[in-house]
Symmetry: C2
Subunit: 316 residues, 2 copies
């Protein structure tokens, strides 16, 4: 194993980069903008140039680098082909091959961002030392990463861990971004709970609630008011939590994880987030799995680069 490793977490506006010691120590992190023009074709060269100049500054030769791990906000097939990544401008792109070429044949791994976050939290975060894990990131949508025997489950069609699109409510009338109706992320994401709040506050018989004092009601406002005991806010938190708990119980019936990790922006509202989910989980789960552990993610925005690095280190 060579001494260094590089991780890149590609988002729609920013690419986060990290230089690691291969033992898992993040020694320097920085970021560059994501240039999405020309179908995102500049991303490859931009990452190469930026990484090479950081290595040069530090007197590190590329031959001392074990590999490059990259995570992207879209589905990735088992061979490292990205199957459409709208935010970056990519269609079907052989990303693993292209990155490796940019870096002169360097070992490269490309994976989905929620999968990378799961792997990062398993390696150096909330699920350290556990090899059967489910992570859900509650942000704009709901992302998911499933780990079995210490490895990410990519899936036959790159959709392993896409728990955000489990159909949870057949009576839903609004459409999810994916084209279906009633997906988990319509309820248990930051946008989802804000949507539920809007519906609730517009109901004729909506009870008195401090949520009415805000111009914009988002997940943070709802959790803040729930902590103060506002009944409507608590109902909304319960609704988010009940849907997520039910989805987690389905995950239990498939891979039966030891630990569920909740990450993403919504998780920043603290222990209340996992406590409510855990409560409902016990109702839905098969008895054998009822005592699975619940944790909040701890690596924050660095989870992706940690996981990307872990993925390339694991690669044979």
């Amino acid at each position: 194993m060579k001494e260094y490793c590089v991780g890149a977490d590609i988002g729609g506006t920013t690419i986060k980069l990290g230089l690691f010691r291969s033992v898992g120590e993040l020694i320097y992190k920085w970021s560059i903008p994501t240039r999405t023009e020309d179908h995102g074709s500049k991303v490859f060269g931009d990452i190469r140039d930026s990484v090479m100049s950081v290595l040069e500054e530090r007197g590190i030769d590329i031959n001392e680098v074990e590999g490059l791990g990259v995570d992207v906000p879209g589905p990735v097939l088992p061979d490292g082909t990205v199957n459409k990544c709208v935010n970056v401008g990519w269609g079907v792109v052989k990303a693993e091959e292209l990155f490796s070429k940019e870096f002169g044949g360097l070992k490269t791994a490309v994976l989905n961002d929620a999968n990378a976050a799961a792997l990062g939290e398993m390696w150096k975060g909330a699920a350290r030392g556990v090899n059967n894990v489910c992570l859900a990131t509650l942000g704009t949508g709901v992302g998911g990463g499933i780990i079995v025997n210490g490895r990410i489950v990519t899936g036959a069609f790159g959709a392993g861990g896409e728990i955000g699109h489990m159909t949870m409510n057949e009576d839903e009338e609004e459409m999810c971004n994916c084209g279906k109706k009633g997906c988990l992320e319509q309820y248990s994401s930051g946008n989802g709970i804000a949507r539920l709040a809007k519906l609730k506050l517009n109901e004729k018989d909506c009870p008195e609630t401090s949520l009415k004092n805000y111009d914009e009601v988002d997940a943070k406002v709802i959790y803040d008011e729930a902590k103060k005991g506002d009944k409507v806010a608590l109902e909304l938190v319960d609704e988010l939590s009940r849907y997520l708990a039910k989805a987690f119980s389905y995950v239990s019936a498939v891979t039966d994880p030891e630990v569920f990790v909740i990450g993403g922006g919504v998780s920043k509202n603290g222990p209340i987030v996992k406590e409510h989910v855990e409560k409902f989980f016990k109702e839905y789960a098969f008895h054998a799995s009822r005592n699975a552990r619940f944790e909040l993610a701890v690596l924050g925005n660095d989870a992706g680069i940690y996981g990307a690095v872990k993925a390339v280190l694991d690669k044979e």
Copy 2:
């Protein structure tokens, strides 16, 4: 790899046994009764005596046997401990250790019966050559087996693949054997569809149906009449199929299998079984996974011994 391997499939009334060539050829199969008295403690010696005498008859020395694979109708922890197996009379039993001891330290693997069936169908059956598979056995209940990267997912609490206990209907009033209400197996098993038929036929406004001509309406009768076009029978088949398809879509969002295999008694009703499930699956599944393949199991009652043998051959 030694030339022979032995598989044992333990059921509540019968133990099926198989002598295999380790390449995967079943050369002789037989069965003995399951003696459940004394908390099922006789099962270990009974299997040893029967296997040893079959080996002796054929002039095979135990040293030519690679291992013993055993599957049981209950949850099995990753270390081969059976966590209650009511039908056999076992409580918490270190089955793997006990079997190995009976056979003088022979390499032994113990696994859940639905998991074994999945592994068998992957090795020599309907999912041959595929390494990401979900199998559901529709019998008295609904069993499940999940394969990722060619290996069974046992789960942290031995509940990997327990898809029969996904909570599918929160309005259900009858209780499942597991103590919850609204589990998949209350709808999509042989007993489940018979139960739905009873409820339907007792409804005041139940339309005219040929099902009323039978003293006892079971899965076979329902599928037979559905094939002939009976509307009520078709509705019941659709109800079973819709619940199973939804559960499969949840599996897709977790491990994203390439192939779904349907086995167990209900699957003997032919292609209609998978066709209806596949139709509804396309409604519920995330777009990336919508073209997963559906197959009926082909190994029948031998799936367990095939899978048990595969499990012990895979063991390091």
